[in-house]
């Protein structure tokens, strides 16, 4: 297991750069360096941002299970950064849609958010991400105490809304959204199973002292 110092000095900065890679590539391609944005650049930017938003959120959701499966508690130190990058990409996806796709054409934007279920769903997920991003600081964690964890369980419905949003906008080829759904399903099912198992254990052996922080995630 890497030391806290190693995580802070090397792993986190490397992860930060890795998470920025999709946006760096888009920027380079915008100037035709190492590639192009293709025939429909707006669509390319919007899709890339949305895809990475969803991927980052799913990776964030995978941190706790991975920690348990591989007995790597240090992974938790990376979770906030991953979650914030998820928010960043989802926000950029939204802003690309708002500015480049819709050209800030408000009548169209408001109608779409209200009338198009897949846009409504995506917008709802974005709104739900805002309180999570705002309360991601150490100070807010301390201030909210136990409620912080409850609040941040919002990531479960957010991930599902994200997959649904993607699923609903594809025309016929559902293979990729199906893959994301399967991963999210596994990650959520694992949490349910863990909770069920620990409560079953508690019922079976009520005399045994509970381990602190058992199955609360």
């Amino acid at each position: 297991m890497p030391s806290v110092v190693a995580v802070r000095r090397y792993i986190k900065p490397s992860l930060f750069l890795a998470c920025l890679l999709p946006v760096i590539l888009l920027l380079l391609h915008a100037f035709n360096i190492g590639g192009t944005l293709g025939t429909n650049p707006v669509e390319m930017i919007q899709d890339t941002m949305g895809q990475w938003g969803l991927r980052m959120l799913i990776i964030t959701l995978a941190v706790t299970p991975l920690r348990d499966w591989f007995n790597a508690p240090w992974l938790i130190m990376l979770r906030r950064m991953l979650g914030l990058f998820g928010f960043f990409y989802v926000l950029m996806h939204f802003l690309t849609w708002l500015i480049l796709d819709q050209d800030l054409y408000w009548p169209g934007i408001l109608t779409d958010v209200a009338k198009r279920p897949f846009i409504t769903i995506g917008f709802a997920a974005l709104l739900m991400l805002i309180p999570l991003a705002v309360t991601s600081t150490n100070r807010m964690m301390r201030r909210l105490g136990k409620r912080w964890k409850t609040l941040h369980r919002l990531i479960y419905p957010i991930a599902l809304l994200g997959v649904w949003h993607y699923w609903w906008q594809v025309k016929a080829d559902i293979r990729e959204p199906l893959l994301y759904l399967s991963i999210v399903a596994v990650l959520l099912a694992w949490r349910v199973w863990k909770k069920w198992r620990s409560s079953a254990r508690r019922r079976a052996a009520p005399a045994v002292a509970r381990t602190p922080g058992g199955a609360t995630d």
Binding site: F31, G38, D103, Y105, G108, R116, Q169, A172, D173
Partner: protein, 322 residues
């Protein structure tokens, strides 16, 4: 793409189709050799019998009656941004995955309510007609659009040669089924082979085109080689590609996207800014090639071909018959 580089469509004076493609120019000796090998058989007809893949020059006359004010998209735009699920579902898949497809030789089977039916070689189908170039708008159901200089023959003129009977109320088309050459057909995202259809009066409308080329050359595989339908007043998915069957029928034929999602894609699929797709608006469209910061433009009724086709649908509820 932030800085728009000069593209073929930009030059005001020279038509892009008048410029010889660099590859064709470099390949001129091979072309001459191929022409010689074919002997005189190839002379005199517009369709090069020996053409093996997209990009062989065609002898087509521009039809000035079919023209749009916007400049055509670049050859690159038209041939790299395609929906042709037989070669994969990404826009870039058809260009990337279609090189194994063999569009020659090509036979079309004609059947159903017509006097002259049977199998026809593509050359024979085209022989009686002069190829013409027409610049059409193309509006995809996904709310983007292109301007394409097609080469082809009016569909109605070809259909008339089969002498459809009074029972021919509709005409159905079928795409070739070749999973070994079309990797997308091994995935069940749609029912294969792709099928489409038109009402016979729609098919006979002078706008309907059977295209064999674009930019003065035979169709590249990713654009539906060697023979495809172009109905510019309808969403792009009506333009069935690599056609191997034409069937005249009394009943409205099934169509692929309608089978896949009947509440989203109708039989008519006329471009209509007032009837939205259930999941997105059809009021505006992105013009491909207009750059990163260009606004979407309003979509026109029947994609701007109202004058030519509105009569076909008089008295019909277009929200119901979408």
């Amino acid at each position: 793409m932030l800085i728009r580089r000069p593209q073929p469509g930009d030059c005001a004076g020279i038509q892009p189709s008048e410029i010889t493609d660099e590859q064709v120019y470099l390949d001129r000796r091979n072309l001459l050799r191929a022409a010689l090998a074919m002997g005189v058989a190839g002379l005199g007809t517009a369709w090069p019998a020996g053409a093996v893949s997209g990009g062989a020059p065609l002898n087509a006359k521009r039809n000035p009656a079919f023209h749009v004010s916007d400049p055509p998209n670049s050859y690159d735009d038209i041939t790299t941004y395609n929906n042709y699920y037989e070669f994969g579902t990404d826009k870039s898949s058809p260009a990337a995955n279609s090189d194994r497809f063999k569009p020659t030789p090509w036979t079309v089977t004609v059947s159903g309510a017509a006097e002259r039916t049977g199998k026809f070689a593509l050359e024979d189908l085209l022989k009686p007609h002069a190829l013409e170039e027409r610049v059409y708008r193309m509006r995809c159901v996904e709310a983007w659009s292109l301007v394409i200089p097609w080469v082809g023959v009016p569909l109605g003129e070809v259909l008339k040669t089969f002498k459809p009977t009074a029972n021919a109320k509709y005409v159905a088309f079928k795409t070739v089924l070749r999973p070994s050459e079309m990797p997308g057909q091994t995935v069940n995202v749609l029912q294969w082979p792709y099928v489409e259809g038109l009402r016979i009066d729609e098919a006979m409308n002078p706008l309907a085109l059977l295209a064999v080329g674009l930019y003065g050359k035979t169709l590249p595989n990713q654009n539906g080689a060697p023979l495809r339908l172009v109905t510019p007043w309808k969403y792009g998915f009506k333009g069935i590609k690599s056609i191997v069957e034409i069937h005249f029928t009394e009943k409205q034929p099934p169509t692929s996207w309608n089978i896949s999602a009947p509440d989203e894609y109708g039989f008519y699929a006329n471009v209509n800014p007032h009837v939205d797709h259930p999941r997105w608006s059809q009021a505006r469209e992105r013009k491909i090639g207009s750059g990163l910061f260009a606004s979407k433009v309003p979509t026109l009724m029947f994609n701007g071909y109202e004058q030519e086709v509105a009569g076909l649908y008089r008295g019909m509820d277009l929200a119901k018959n979408f």
